[in-house]
């Protein structure tokens, strides 16, 4: 008997986590190699929800591509749309009305808050705090209502279109957003009381799952996960687009690189997004909500790249055009794919239970990984 136990302790064995594991937040399969409870290696296997979006885009006009980018990282649907729209507008040299820029920036930040709220819910749930899940969802509801009232969609909006917006915002938009900011400023302190200081939470995240800045850069880990390691990668700050060079906001940085650093970056980012919205919401200028574009958009021959800061990192669109109404080739740089690639170097040597917390702190959305 003793021999068998010794054998098990020394043997390496493989275990599949997923594709239907609740903590992978989607259909992601991780092949773990374990010794006892210690993780020796993590190999992600992607492709369970691959839809061939890049290939599909080659047979769609530029307006039609928008509705597919919604379905990548569905939690930052607005921001993904923004990237494609800006690419087309910059390529054609379209000057947008100020009103469009204001609305787009506000919508982007609302989407970022909603996304981080959902991340907070699931982070709590992965660590066993189910209360957090319900509180987060409760506070996300007003944002979804704001989206629904103005855009018609709750999760997937397809609201932006090259040249502006699909329709104007609802007259009650500003009041709703202001009410939400007032409400959420109080609630976010509750989040801190409930989870941030919690002993179970701190012990399971502090000093665990360390990603150094060097690794973050070499794996291309961007967004809050990269900034938790001290990697300055906020596109809004370093390559401002839309109105981000007009508003005041801080780039949130932490240098610890552990799960807790990634957690606190996201918490502070929610507050920062509230600040950004507050600066803009009162002075949305009147004007058109879109400029008139040709019904068939043809990009001049050439290659174009546009990047934006999505809720999980840098989202980039590369389009190579042959001057036709369809793009010749589309490549999407999805933040989650690069973030996932760092999982092995973060998690090896850790306990398998901590892998769940590490995965939650990286906050991946699987449809964005597989595309």
């Amino acid at each position: 008997m003793a021999e068998i136990i010794q054998d098990i302790q020394e043997q390496e064995y493989l275990i599949n986590m997923g594709p239907q594991h609740p903590s992978t937040h989607g259909v992601l399969r991780l092949v773990l190699s374990l010794r006892g409870e210690t993780v020796l290696s993590v190999q992600p296997h992607c492709g369970y929800i691959h839809r061939g979006i890049e290939k599909m885009c080659e047979r769609l006009t530029y307006q039609q591509i928008i509705h597919l980018t919604d379905r990548l990282d569905y939690l930052s649907a607005h921001i993904n749309n923004h990237a494609v729209c800006m690419l087309v507008e910059n390529a054609l040299g379209v000057e947008l009305p100020e009103r469009v820029k204001y609305i787009r920036t506000i919508m982007d930040e609302l989407a970022r808050i909603a996304s981080h709220q959902l991340w907070w819910c699931s982070f709590g749930m992965d660590l066993g705090a189910l209360t957090a899940f319900f509180y987060g969802l409760r506070d996300r509801e007003p944002i979804l209502d704001i989206f629904e009232e103005s855009t018609g969609g709750r999760l997937i909006q397809s609201y932006y279109t090259p040249g502006g917006l699909m329709k104007d915002i609802h007259p009650g938009f500003q009041k709703r957003v202001k009410d939400f900011i007032k409400m959420f400023r109080k609630k976010i302190n509750e989040y801190d009381q409930l989870l941030s200081g919690n002993v179970i939470m701190t012990q399971r995240t502090q000093g665990i799952g360390i990603l150094t800045e060097e690794e973050a850069i070499s794996f291309g880990v961007t967004g809050p996960s990269g900034r938790g390691s001290g990697f300055e990668c906020d596109i809004r700050k370093h390559h401002p687009y839309s109105l981000y060079n007009k508003v005041e906001f801080k780039e949130i940085l932490r240098t610890e690189g552990d799960s807790f650093a990634r957690y606190s970056v996201r918490m502070d980012e929610m507050r920062e997004s509230l600040n950004i919205i507050e600066q803009l919401i009162d002075n949305i200028p009147a004007g058109d909500f879109s400029v008139k574009m040709k019904p068939v958009i043809k990009l001049p021959e050439g290659e174009y790249y546009q990047r934006v800061e999505a809720a999980r990192g840098e989202f980039g669109v590369f389009i190579s055009s042959k001057g036709e109404k369809y793009p010749y080739r589309v490549k999407l740089r999805s933040p989650n794919f690069s973030n996932l690639s760092a999982l092995h170097s973060i998690a090896h040597g850790q306990k398998i239970a901590d892998l769940v917390a590490i995965g939650a702190s990286l906050d991946y959305v699987i449809p964005d990984i597989d595309r």
Partner: protein
């Protein structure tokens, strides 16, 4: 000794943090025990109203004389990324003996629709609009194909034109 102090202070701090968290949940438990955050669906089906902009399904509004605005120009069908619209037109001969295209059937397959809104936005005669219906579950797939124009409906005749 030091270890012992750390052990107890850690325990104490841990308990405090738990109590703090319980304070939040306790506050809600005692102050608003009957506040309902979620929607009481399906009990509220009769009173439930969606926002005007809500994208439930594509519809073709008709006026009281059973007339619609669609000229069967096919633009919505061309713009739909999923091929969920099929415009069937027929040629009619009017009194003056001229041939004219008229809408026969506007088929819309909601099972293939991704609610992008391009058909509604690009329609030159504003013939389509969003409907607020959201209960779309069906037992068979071919029920998803709807005909948007009513039986016997006609094109609205513009005023000033006979």
């Amino acid at each position: 000794m030091r270890g012992l102090i750390n052990y107890f202070s850690g325990m104490f701090n841990g308990i405090i943090s738990l109590v703090k968290g319980m304070g939040v949940t306790g506050k809600y438990f005692f102050t608003s025990p009957v506040t309902i955050v979620t929607q009481q669906y399906p009990e509220n089906r009769k009173t439930l109203e969606m926002f005007d902009a809500f994208k439930g399904e594509v519809t073709m509004p008709h006026n009281e004389n059973n007339e619609h605005k669609c000229t069967a120009c096919n633009i919505c069908q061309i713009n739909c990324p999923n091929g969920s619209i099929e415009v069937v037109s027929k040629d009619v001969v009017n009194e003056e003996g001229k041939k004219k295209k008229e809408l026969d059937k506007h088929h819309y397959n909601i099972g293939m629709c991704s609610f992008c809104g391009l058909c509604i936005k690009t329609c030159p005669s504003n013939a389509l609009a969003w409907g607020q219906e959201f209960e779309h579950a069906m037992f068979t797939r071919n029920k998803f194909v709807k005909t948007l124009n009513n039986e016997g409906s006609k094109l609205i005749q513009k005023k000033g034109v006979e």
